[in-house]
Amino acid sequence: MSDAQTATSTDGNGGSAIQMIGVHKWYGQFHVLKDINLAVDRKEKIVVCGPSGSGKSTLIRCINRLEEHQRGQIIVEDIELTNDLKKIDEIRREVGMVFQHFNLFPHLSVLDNLTLAPIWVRKMPKDEAEDVAMKFLTRVKIPEQATKFPGQLSGGQQQRVAIARSLCMNPKIMLFDEPTSALDPEMIKEVLDVMVDLAEEGMTMIVVTHEMGFANRVADRVIFMDGGEVIEQADPETFFNNPQSERTKLFLSQILSH
């Protein structure tokens, strides 16, 4: 475990998309993240799994500063996260995020949801932003829903809109925080398909998910977290067939038993 961690943290250089060095976070007294060391290469796909409350969501939310870390360094695309609001905004422009509950803006049409950030953050002309939006809506296979409001779409469609919304900002890194956990079973596949396509195009991705089939197919590395620590990380084949730690074995037996 320590070998894997030091290996990933020491080979971190200018080529890494994300570097987390000795990151700690507390919620009051509760120690959520304990000494996280993680380097993510460009175009690498990482799946983070672990029991609920293990800190996996907090980990990726620290990367775009939705949560603040209290100790250690986080460097994203060669910009270090500090309290400097300009740098936080700079990083958020480069990092897209997809949430468990979609977080689409219900008062705006699907098209306006997609064009809002390009127009107001990237200062893109409206026509161009709409072209880009339609391109990504076509890519997630729902261009015909452009004029509807989010409340009129199914969960799977909403999540695909959310993915398209992030892609419209042309991010270098995509974070997924349990993107399929709030979906009905028959809609999970349509969202995972979009994510697989995205992975195949070479997007740097960190995905918090319990979809082990997806992890097996797409991930370059699977990270297992428990109690705020990275317990184990390995390529999917090693991870699933030959887990090292007891906690990983227990977790895998629980989620793969049916």
């Binding site: 775009n64 939705l66 949430f99 953050v121 409340g151 919304r165």
Partner: protein, 367 residues
């Protein structure tokens, strides 16, 4: 075997008993279902019988409509001649009669501009809105008070009637809303100093009755400013009412802000929106939509509270009616005046209320 079975003819359905359907059935079910319901129904009918015919008789059947003085009111019913004779004063106050066209003209501009905003297909809405917010108040100010464009100066003590009521209510609402929004955001700010200032402001203004605010504005304020420096009394009252209303609106809007899920903030932040862009584009449109009933409630309350300006010597709509009622030539017609005032206020408030319902329906996006 089938031959042995006796055949039965289904007889046609009888109609339901008259006591369960139609008017009779409805009455039985809703008004006479139990002995105490019956008693209440009879009591209510008796009250209606006793109260309504005299009111109708007073207001319409035996009322006097024609004439020019109290001598024409002889029939014993309502004397609407009183309202007719004083109508101009009720609307314009003591504004000079030959200058009243200025108020009419200003009102028409406002109504025409506002009306264009109701047409969904009207293409220049943005420009009209900007005109109404930034240009119109200045134009209206010079139009009503004069001393510009070659218009005669009409000092504000002459302003009055429904005109003054609407000036106070509209200025109060329109300027209080942005101040209220800023206060609401400030109260939820992460910066302790900003939060403290907003909390103090809101609690101070909300804790004082409007009458006190008006007294402070008219009587005490001049004591604190240097000699020779005078502000118009109406302006002082307007500022007081505006800040008072802003404190109330701030709390209403804060309620809406609290109802917006955290995910909306996070969704906006993750896209790289700055605080103000997030608030203006994402959070406030949703929060304000949620609190339309509360905002409209405050506006209606303010419209009626404007009648309090009478105590600092401004003659608003109700003030003019009261003043007319004490005119020696027209003593004894206060009831007609108050009924008229109640009717006009009701029409205005009901109109605002219906418009807010329409707005809520229009902004609903099905979630």
């Amino acid at each position: 075997m089938t031959d042995a079975t006796p055949t039965f003819e289904r007889s046609p359905d009888l109609p339901p008993p008259a006591s369960t359907v139609g008017v009779v059935g409805w009455l039985r079910q809703n008004l006479f279902s139990t002995w105490y319901n019956t008693l209440l129904t009879i009591l209510a009918l008796w009250i209606v019988w006793e109260a309504v015919p005299p009111v109708i008789s007073w207001a319409f059947l035996t009322a006097d409509w024609a004439g020019t003085s109290r001598d024409d009111c002889t029939s014993g019913g309502a004397c609407w001649v009183f309202i007719k004779e004083w109508f101009g004063q009720f609307i314009y106050g003591r504004y000079p009669i030959e200058e009243r066209w200025r108020i009419n003209f200003g009102s028409i501009i406002l109504i025409v501009c506002a009306a264009t905003l109701f047409f969904p297909r009207f293409p220049y809405k943005l420009w009209v809105s900007l005109f109404l917010i930034f240009v119109y108040p200045i134009v209206a100010f010079f139009l009503f008070s004069g001393d510009a464009f070659g218009l005669e100066w009409v000092e504000t003590p002459l302003w009055g009637g429904l005109f003054l009521t609407l000036v106070i209510a509209i200025v109060g609402c329109v300027f209080a809303l942005p101040i209220g929004i800023v206060l609401a955001l400030g109260r939820r700010s992460d910066m302790p100093a900003v939060r403290a200032v907003c909390v103090a402001f809101i609690e101070l203004w909300r804790g004082v009755p409007l009458i006190t605010v008006l007294f402070m504005a008219s009587v005490m304020f001049p004591l604190f400013v240097p000699e020779g420096l005078t502000f118009d009394k109406l302006l002082r009252a307007l500022i007081g009412i505006m800040l008072f209303q802003a404190a109330y609106l701030a709390e209403v809007i804060r309620g809406g802000l609290q109802a917006i899920p955290r995910g909306q903030y996070e969704g906006a932040q993750a896209l790289g929106l700055s605080y103000w862009k997030m608030m203006i584009l994402i959070i406030l449109p949703q929060a304000l939509k949620l609190v339309i009933p509360g905002i409209v409630n405050s506006f209606i309350a303010l419209l009626k509270d404007t009648t309090l300006v009478l105590i600092i010597g401004l003659f608003d709509f109700l003030g003019m009616i009261q003043a007319a009622g004490t005119n020696p030539d027209w003593l004894g017609f206060a009831v007609e005046g108050y009924v008229f005032a109640a009717f006009v206020f009701w029409v205005l408030c009901f109109g605002i209320s219906r418009y807010s319902l329409h707005l809520e329906r229009k902004l609903h996006t099905g979630h």
